[in-house]
């Protein structure tokens, strides 16, 4: 079956690697790689992979313009690596000409997806130089004036993922526009705010000039706009960036009036402003011209949610990687885990979102912002919406949520991930979106029947967050995407997903509209997402099989078998002879032989 290093979720990467007989000849070793349309072989070479779990493994490496593929030639150790070049964050040479130790001369590759790869090469010839240069060029195409693979791929899918999210349709689904909220196209040419989408929902009573004046007082002109409205109580979630209060404590009447319009829209007695940052950070931001809403905002209360900034999150995940890769810190696992603070950050994000959702449920409109309103704000609004609105818990609804709150509202994917960029130490990089997906995973763990999609979807999303195979997560904002014609020239990740929907469905999904999900945001109940963060460790594999899902498949097979038997029984005219043979003793063999092919039918309602 699968080799130890290519994980079961490598099918999330949609790579079809057929298994091969072990004694295959060296030449043929790489012939079975199934390349994507538009993917070109660049180089292949004999190489030694220094596997942290199996030791040095001889084999062959293939580099294409999309992936790094390694297959062991040793029949005893079957190791396959299939890494999209987009997942590579750093390539370094290790050892010099004078290196003496065995396998001390080669390449050291750091990946964005929680693993590192080391290869050893022969010192003779220029084998390392060639491969290093090729890797460096193709892993960081933007740094070399080349195109991202998303622009080169020729793959075709039945579905067009770019049509998943249409802002107007989504607003209409929410019941907008109505007599309190209107849709404005003021940002049509990205003139008002270059990091916002073109279509915005704003209070009905606000005039276009008001919006412009408010934009002048909000960081990067990211004015408060509606993200979500509660159907019954008309309470809204509004998102924006920090006000430009500055050291002198500037005021802006228009901004104050504008927030009051938001409050008035559903007669909320007090508008709640959630500032995602810790109080001290908000104060510190005054020095750079930012700040937070002060007492001058009447009928509003300000609550700080204590979520740390992108740098803290980056360091936290780095620490987590240190304790899980390659080896799991075993002796003091729990306190090591605690010292990364990763789960604590997850908890703060979740509990912030819970507060937002709870406020909205009780009929109060809320405004959410952090500094620029594209990192923590996106986490909070999207998670709160996931708790409040069961539509976002469906497979397509979740895509809409990501398209809307993350992609269209300008989460800086390009800067946070560093697609195709060689500058691995860029301080703008941060796993904010990974953290969001982790929060979603925590919710699916606590409410296993509430989500239409499964864990595989989350893993796929995170894999292609880095892979650069799809246009979905490229660039920082809509204006940049328009400029680079992403929708025209690249494929959407949702094209892949929606063409193979069965793979991503949760068989246990029980639709329940109108129910608010409040996860328990306590360290006592949060868990580390082992199957993502430690998935490269072959020991973890065993648990990846979801026993519940397997059980479900088996039951489906059993049901079909029983149905068939019943049919046979009802048809049979000579019951005594027939039954004596078929019913009991044969059950075992026929059950075993019934393939669980009925799995695909599992979303038939019953």
């Amino acid at each position: 079956m699968a080799s130890p290093v290519s994980m079961p979720n490598s099918n999330a990467l949609d790579a079809h690697i057929p298994t091969t007989p072990r004694d295959i000849k060296d030449m043929e070793l790489l012939s079975d790689v199934c390349l994507l349309a538009g993917e070109d072989r660049i180089i292949d070479k004999d190489i030694i992979y220094i596997c942290p779990f199996n030791g040095a493994v001889k084999g062959k490496v293939l580099i294409t313009n999309y992936r790094l593929y390694f297959k062991s030639s040793d029949p005893d150790v079957s190791v396959t690596l299939d890494v999209p070049l987009g997942a590579i964050s750093r390539v370094e040479k290790m050892g010099g000409a004078s290196s003496r130790g065995e396998n001390s001369y080669g390449l050291d590759i750091t990946c964005k997806d929680m693993r590192n790869l080391r290869f050893a090469l022969k010192q003779e010839g220029h084998s390392r130089r060639d491969i290093f240069e090729i890797l460096f060029r193709y892993a960081f195409p933007l740094s070399h004036g080349m195109q991202l693979f998303a622009y080169l791929t020729q793959e075709k899918h039945e579905e067009n993922g770019w049509s998943v999210y249409k802002p107007i349709e989504e607003f209409r689904r929410q019941g907008l526009p109505n007599n309190k909220w209107r849709i404005t196209f003021i940002n049509k040419g990205y003139d008002l705010c270059d990091t916002y989408p073109t279509v915005l929902a704003v209070p009905y009573k606000s005039k276009e000039e008001d919006l412009k004046r408010v934009a002048a007082f909000r960081s990067r002109a990211r004015i408060p706009v509606l993200s979500w409205i509660h159907r019954e109580n008309q309470a809204v979630i509004v998102r924006c960036s920090q006000p430009l209060v500055g050291m002198s404590g500037k005021r802006n009447k228009d901004d104050e009036r504008y927030l009051d319009l938001i409050r008035e829209a559903n007669d909320t007695p007090k508008l709640t402003i959630y500032d995602a940052r810790p109080n001290v950070n908000a104060v510190a931001n005054k020095a750079t011209g930012g700040g937070y809403e002060g007492d001058e905002y009447q009928n509003a209360e300000l609550i700080f949610l204590d979520i740390q900034n992108i740098h803290v999150m980056r360091e936290s995940l780095k620490k987590l990687k240190d304790i899980v890769y390659p080896n799991v810190e075993d002796s003091h696992w729990l306190s090591s885990l605690e010292s990364t603070h990763w789960l604590e950050h997850i908890k703060l994000v979740l509990s912030g979102a819970i507060q937002v959702a709870d406020k909205v449920t009780s009929g109060n409109s809320v405004v959410v912002h952090c500094s620029d309103g594209w990192d923590r704000t996106a986490q909070l609004t999207s998670l709160a919406m996931l708790m409040l609105d069961s539509h976002y818990r469906t497979l397509r609804g979740f895509q809409v949520l990501i398209e809307k709150e993350w992609i269209s509202f300008g989460h800086k994917f390009a800067s946070r991930i560093g697609h195709g960029d060689k500058n691995h130490a860029d301080q703008d990089r941060s796993p904010i979106f990974v953290q969001f997906i982790d929060c979603v995973w925590q919710m699916t763990k606590q409410f296993p029947t509430a989500f239409e999609f499964n864990e595989r979807l989350l893993l796929t999303i995170l894999d292609h967050l880095y892979s650069c195979r799809f246009g979905t997560f490229l660039y920082n904002c809509e204006s940049a995407r328009d400029q680079h014609e992403v929708r025209l020239k690249t494929v959407s990740l949702w094209s892949l997903v929606n063409s193979k929907i069965d793979m991503y469905l949760n068989p246990f999904y029980t639709p329940e509209s109108g129910r608010v999900l409040y996860p328990v945001a306590s360290m006592r109940h949060l868990e580390l997402w082992v199957t993502y963060y430690i998935r490269w460790n072959p020991r973890i594999r065993q648990q990846q099989q979801s026993p519940v899902e397997q059980r479900y498949k088996e039951l489906l097979a059993l049901r079909d078998e029983y149905l068939k038997k019943l049919e046979e029984l009802q048809l049979s005219d000579s019951p005594s002879s027939h039954l004596a043979n078929s019913s009991t003793p044969n059950t075992s063999s026929s059950t075993a032989s019934t393939p669980p092919q009925q799995y695909t039918r599992l979303h038939t309602p019953f």
Binding site: T449, T510, M523, R524, R539, I540, R541
Partner: protein, 820 residues
């Protein structure tokens, strides 16, 4: 006749609080909607109370009426089903708490909380009543504004005064409150034992187990029938056939407490698992003794014995006690003192309890032993100084890992009987429910349940029992009502039950032989075994103890313990016959003092036995253990094909012991932790899990199918007991917990290792109905013989008990004639 006379109660509680008193002739009475036990008095009642439901119960609130009797705090939901007056009395309904399980009573008032003790006085009217229980439940009742203040205050006082923090003597009055009435005594003495499990109380029970395991070469010895050889060992011991009783008798002196090596279990590949206490060193070894000792120790394997020392790497009882008390403090976090651990220190504090470390070390040791046994044809003897704590732990964990039968509910119950109850784990002292021996207290058995839970959570589909069952067992430990847990060894249990008719006890006429001196008072109520679940759990809740559609145990017949397909075994047979090795800290050694009679100080051995024990390791042994270490890298082990590959049912379930793979049993330790539910909303309360719905559908189809088959095929009428099981499942599926199971391959499920001949007319499969099957009718008629034992006893019992699909030639002596 009642344990607490009503006069006493009247004196203790003011007369007006005595709302009712049972009449003597009613079996149970309905008082204000509460079904009272015979003799049970309602002391206080509060209306318009809401109970907070845990996540498992569906979350949210349930309104109803709260009662306090002198046995329990009962909660009767408003819209609950009407009690059935003809039903058997049940000690606790779904929402009740026994007073003896309550550890602390806390009330929450406006802006304040208060710990209530029998002497406290309240200065405010509580809004909330929180009961902290010994079993780590936290039960929370909310009073309505419409609840009369007097009722709220009186209820609080009554519970505080009645719940009796356990102390010497208080347990007895609690037992009397529950079981002391004439009617209850009568009722209990007419209860029949669950015949689907092996109680290991009679010699035929042991023979049945030998047969089940295909262990030849062993016999059941009755030398300890009167507990004269060893007071803590059971009456029946399994020893090598070739050792005569007279020889056997001489060996007791060589072991601590006389706990000689005894057979526990045989691995299908032919290895035997033994357990024993440490050697008595200051004893002279006669030549004959040595021969006998070696024979006993080597059992049926002539070549190789591995002694596994259980002292060093495993937690001591004191360690376990400390870890558990830390875990309790951490998980319960008391709102009255607000000392709960801050959330950001939760993980490191949890780690510093060492509880998870201890489960890991037990599982690791058991994994090592399981891998040794897998090697085939050797004897593994577990040795512990007293052989009453960690031997129980390791031997039973090994069997859960290796034997699918012990992963069924009845199999597991049998295992607990075999390795804990009968083997003499000191439940009474370790649980210390009488609070008379704090030094000995240690929840070894709870640690064992946690280990089993770890296995279950890693391999849920390989268990027929569920975590609900483990939870029920966990909670029952804290209820001082069961004979199972209220004695330290079989001898003590026998002494006690001899005073009370013969309930639950098979009669072989041995009672008369016991010394008639009795320390226990004849008026003590008879105690039921914990396995009589109907006393505590409703049918619906019991149904959740097992998977809706259970897995199929392996069907290959056992080849007399010689299912030896393991290539590794071959290497081991090369060793010099009579080699003994010590396994300690993961390595094998051969210290000269391992067997005292072989050590240099005892000269006789060397003279008579020429061969010196090899001091080198047997390479094969190391390899066996290495295989285990490698299973953590599954691909390196050819025999494990991953979860999707064909499952060799005898491949042990080896747990992953890495930090991230070991979990906390949240459903047990964090039940009702109040903060956890602050934001909870019911999501699945009304919806059964899709797997359950499907399982239900499959069960219905199966039901239909078997009905059609039975109606049309006379040959299959013997399978009639099957539909019964199906009925029960239909009920259970409506709100089941979790469920996971590989699809059953056939309809029978509980027959562990032997394939039932399809047309067998023998007794129906043991596991078929947890509900009492129809053939119970015959059991009823034989009840009298059962109780007052005569010569016909064996006959009637053989009808009740299930023998694993007797292929007639292989029945143990004495029973073969009965079944035919």
């Amino acid at each position: 006749m009642q344990g607490i006379s009503s006069e006493e109660l009247l004196m203790f509680f003011k007369g007006e609080r005595m709302l009712s008193q049972s009449s003597m002739n009613a079996r149970s009475r309905d008082v204000y909607g509460l079904r009272c036990l015979p003799g049970e008095c309602v002391l206080q009642r509060a209306v318009m109370v809401r109970k907070k439901l845990t996540a498992r119960e569906g979350r949210g609130w349930l309104s109803g009426t709260l009662f306090c009797t002198h046995f329990r705090v009962a909660f009767v939901p408003q819209d609950g089903p009407k009690p059935d007056d003809n039903a058997d009395p049940m000690l606790l309904a779904d929402h009740d708490v026994a007073l003896a399980s309550i550890e602390k009573v806390v009330v929450v008032g406006p802006n304040r909380t208060k710990l209530v003790t029998p002497n406290s006085s309240l200065k405010f009217t509580p809004e909330e009543l929180v009961l902290y229980c010994r079993d780590m439940r936290v039960i929370c009742f909310l009073f309505d504004r419409l609840t009369p203040d007097a009722q709220v205050i009186e209820m609080t006082y009554t519970i505080a005064k009645t719940y009796q923090p356990l102390k010497p003597g208080s347990v007895l009055s609690f037992q009397n409150a529950a079981l002391g009435s004439v009617e209850m005594k009568q009722f209990l003495s007419n209860r029949r034992r669950d015949t689907h499990m092996n109680w290991f109380e009679s010699s035929s029970d042991w023979e049945q187990e030998l047969e089940r395991c295909g262990a030849s070469g062993w016999r059941v010895s009755t030398v300890n029938d009167r507990f004269e050889m060893s007071t803590s060992l059971p009456r029946f011991l399994v020893v090598p056939q070739k050792v005569l009783d007279t020889e056997l008798k001489k060996s007791f002196a060589h072991f601590n407490e006389g706990r000689i090596p005894r057979w526990c279990w045989r691995h299908p590949r032919g290895s035997d698992l033994l357990r024993m206490a440490s050697f008595q060193n200051n004893i002279y070894h006669e030549k004959d003794d040595i021969r006998n000792l070696e024979m006993i120790l080597f059992g049926c394997q002539s070549s190789l014995c591995v002694v596994v020392e259980l002292g060093e790497e495993l937690p001591s009882p004191a360690d376990i006690q400390l870890a558990h008390s830390r875990l309790r403090a951490l998980c319960l976090g008391d709102i009255s003192t607000s000392v709960s651990v801050p959330d950001d220190k939760w993980l490191s504090t949890l780690e510093s309890t060492h509880w998870i470390d201890y489960t890991r070390s037990c599982l690791r040791k058991a994994s090592e032993v399981a891998c040794l046994l897998r090697g085939g044809h050797l004897t593994v003897a577990l040795q512990e100084v007293e052989d009453r704590d960690m031997s129980c732990m390791v031997s039973s964990l090994v069997q859960v890992m290796c034997d699918p039968y012990f992963r069924t509910q009845h199999g597991f119950q049998s295992l607990v009987q075999k390795e804990w109850v009968i083997a003499g784990h000191r439940f009474y002292s370790r649980i210390n429910c009488h609070r008379d021996n704090d030094k000995e207290e240690a929840p070894v058995f709870l640690l064992f349940l946690d280990c089993v839970w770890q296995l279950w959570s890693q391999y849920p589909s390989r268990f027929q029992m569920t975590d609900d069952f483990l939870l029920a067992l966990h909670d029952s430990i804290h209820l001082p009502l069961f004979s199972t847990f209220l004695a330290n060894c079989q001898r003590e249990r026998c002494k006690r039950s001899q005073n009370h008719g013969q309930c639950y006890t098979p009669v072989n006429g041995w009672i008369d032989m016991l010394h008639p001196d009795s320390s226990s008072d004849a008026s003590d109520p008879p105690l039921p075994p914990v396995w009589d679940w109907a006393l505590q759990y409703s049918k619906q809740r019991q149904d959740r103890f097992t998977q809706p559609v259970p897995p199929t145990p392996p069907l290959q017949p056992l080849l007399n313990g010689n299912l030896n397909t393991n290539p590794d075994a071959i290497r081991l047979t090369d060793t010099i016959p009579g080699s003994v090795f010590l396994l300690s800290r993961g390595t094998f050694s051969c210290p000269s003092n391992l067997l005292p009679w072989r050590s240099s100080s005892s000269g006789i051995y060397k003279k008579t036995h020429r061969r010196a024990p090899s001091s080198e390791n047997v390479p094969g042994l190391d390899r066996l253990l290495k295989l285990w270490a490698l299973t953590e890298f599954p691909q390196s082990l050819p025999s494990s094909c991953g979860p999707q590959g064909p499952l060799d049912p005898y491949e042990p379930l080896l747990p992953l012991l890495m930090g991230p793979c070991m979990g906390l049993w949240r459903e047990c330790y964090l039940r009702g932790a109040l903060h956890a539910q602050a934001f909870s909303h019911p999501i699945s309360a009304n919806h059964p899990h899709p797997v359950e719905r499907l399982a239900q559908e499959v069960q219905q189809l199966k039901d239909k199918l078997s009905q059609m088959s039975t109606s049309t095929d006379p040959n299959l009428s013997t399978k009639k007991s099957e539909p019964r099981r199906i009925d029960t499942n239909l009920n259970q599926n409506t709100n089941n917990g979790t469920f996971l199971f590989p699809a059953p391959r056939t309809q029978g499920m509980g027959v562990p290792r032997a394939a039932p001949p399809p047309t067998s007319r023998g007794p129906p499969p043991a596991t078929a109905p947890p509900s009492r099957p129809r053939h119970k009718d015959s059991g009823g008629s034989s009840k009298h013989t059962f109780l007052f034992g005569h010569s016909s006893v064996a006959d009637s019992r053989s009808e009740q008990r299930y023998y694993p699909t007797p292929s007639n030639s292989k029945l143990p002596k004495g029973t073969s004639s009965l079944t035919s």
